[in-house]
Amino acid sequence: MKVKVKFFAILRERAGAGEITREMKEGGTVADLWEALRKDYPRLAPVETRLLYAVNRNYVRPNHILKENDEVVFVPPVSGG
């Protein structure tokens, strides 16, 4: 199945892309997707900071199971204000 990933801020800069579509196995979690992306984009690998996960504009737990066409965002520490 395919999911959409949006990158923002430092992850956008490191991935060199703002939005991608990626193939993944049915039943995969959002944490699985992050591990896969760290292999796709070696410059994401050194990001050690705690990320939050958002699917379809809601925060979810790392074990959240993705579905076809989900919009996934990995949220580095926010710093608005």
């Binding site: 801020a9 430092i10 900071t49 958002a54 926010v78 710093s79 608005g80």
Partner: protein
């Protein structure tokens, strides 16, 4: 009114929006770009958002504030893109019958924004730039 925008922010517009006959108090918070941070000479802050989710999260925290305090109206607008020294990056306005509710809800809003709303700030300073919240006291290696 919960918005993310590239345009300069207008405090009076937000205050007019929250003004209500039932309100006796309006508290506002304006976050501005400061010319220094942790010893660095700041040139500007450059904000980026996940705009659809940021607006949704702003509205959510507005709902939470309405449950916690007796407030009339609330407005939050956050700017994205470069924000020069002294210019506002975020404005919060809250009206309430009584001042305690207005102050507490306003304070709550800015604390929540800094915790949970997907907006990020890159500090452009003399000698470099850095994503705030990602550093451990220093610019990230490998940049």
């Amino acid at each position: 009114m919960f918005r993310v925008t590239k345009e300069p922010l207008d405090l009076q517009a937000l205050v007019s929006y929250v003004t209500a006959p039932e309100a006796g108090a309006i508290a506002t918070f304006v976050g501005t770009t400061r010319n220094n941070n942790e010893g660095r000479k700041v040139i500007a802050l450059d904000y980026e958002a996940y705009p659809e989710m940021a607006e949704k999260e702003l509205a959510r925290l507005g709902e939470e504030a309405k449950r916690k305090w007796k407030i009339e109206r609330m407005a939050i607008v956050h700017r994205i893109g470069p924000v020069a020294i002294t210019e506002p990056s975020v404005i919060i306005a809250v009206s309430a019958a009584h001042r305690d509710d207005a102050f507490q809800a306003c304070r709550f809003a800015i604390e929540e924004i800094k915790k949970s709303v997907p907006i990020w700030k890159k500090e452009v300073f003399e000698g470099g730039e850095i994503w705030i919240g990602m550093q451990s006291g220093q610019p990230l290696p490998g940049r």
